[in-house]
Amino acid sequence: MDDRGFFSGIKAGTSIAVGYFPIALTFGLLAKTTGLSLIEATAMSIFVYAGAAQYISLSLIAAGVSPLLIVLNTFVVNIRHFLMTASLNEKMQPEKKWIKALYAFGVTDESFSVLATQKGGKLRTSFGIGVIVVAYGSWVVFTAVGHLIGANLPHFLQAAMSIALYAMFVGLLVPSMRENRKVVSLALIAGLINSFFYFTGWLSTGWAILVSTLASAILIEIISSKGRRV
């Protein structure tokens, strides 16, 4: 098992915190212009903690969509996490169920990506919590800051920082791509299928990520298991 603990987790999660900073700031600002109070905006980040779903909910609130539909949409957008936490379970050390249920709250696209791509064996719970705490802290604090200052970063910086999370995903993917051709195929095929859904508009983003990830993971498994048998 990997022996890194809480503070190594904080360090590994810092790139998420940097990536969340501009997004949370903008969320806080948009929430304010949508008419949410500081408490209301920050509470959404504290209790829901799901970037894409929170953004969508703002535009739905502004459009006067019924709260029930907003909740339903949130479910649809976030159901992809089902796949991620099932996969993450293989990577985390065995732990009491209630502790796992507790830190499950902090699993996002980003914390999942950072945890699941760590080299070596299973990860300690304390390492996982470190990654989650720094990412969550950034999201909540900068939501509030965005609402409070009610202004955004200078435009050039805001635009430049919009690449941050994607650059992080690239930085997590590339080292494994260099070592393993299977990783290249997995990412490429999932990216192609997801692009197909994006350009055709056949599936909304949440479903598209779920379906393309699962399709690629199963397809590559079928191909590589045939390779093993021969």
Partner: protein, 102 residues
């Protein structure tokens, strides 16, 4: 916002939490069939592919932000830099681009 807002937050929190918690809590201690384990081990890299493409190209309305940002991120990452350097480096490249060329 009225009281409905708080009911909505509770609803959103529940439907977001359940897909996160159910697999982690209920798969604990269960040995899954090897084929499913293999598929689950493939998920992280497939997810990264789907999260990156095609969204990385559309971070701004100006498509050049995405193209230059993606090129910078992949370039810095293939040079062997750690994740934080990839993140800060890509931001720096785009900041320079937007100050000097726009």
């Amino acid at each position: 916002m009225g009281a409905w807002y708080w009911w909505m937050i509770i609803g959103m929190a529940i439907v977001t939490y359940l897909p996160r918690a159910i697999p982690l809590a209920f798969l604990e201690g269960r040995e899954l069939p090897p084929a499913i384990q293999n598929v689950l081990r493939n998920i992280p890299y497939a997810v990264l592919g789907a999260l990156i493409f095609p969204a990385i190209f559309f971070v701004q309305e100006n498509i050049w932000f995405g193209i230059i940002g993606a090129a910078a991120a992949f370039g810095i990452a293939f040079a062997g830099a750690n994740v934080m350097t990839v993140v800060l480096g890509s931001i720096a490249v785009l900041a320079v681009y937007s100050v000097w060329f726009l």
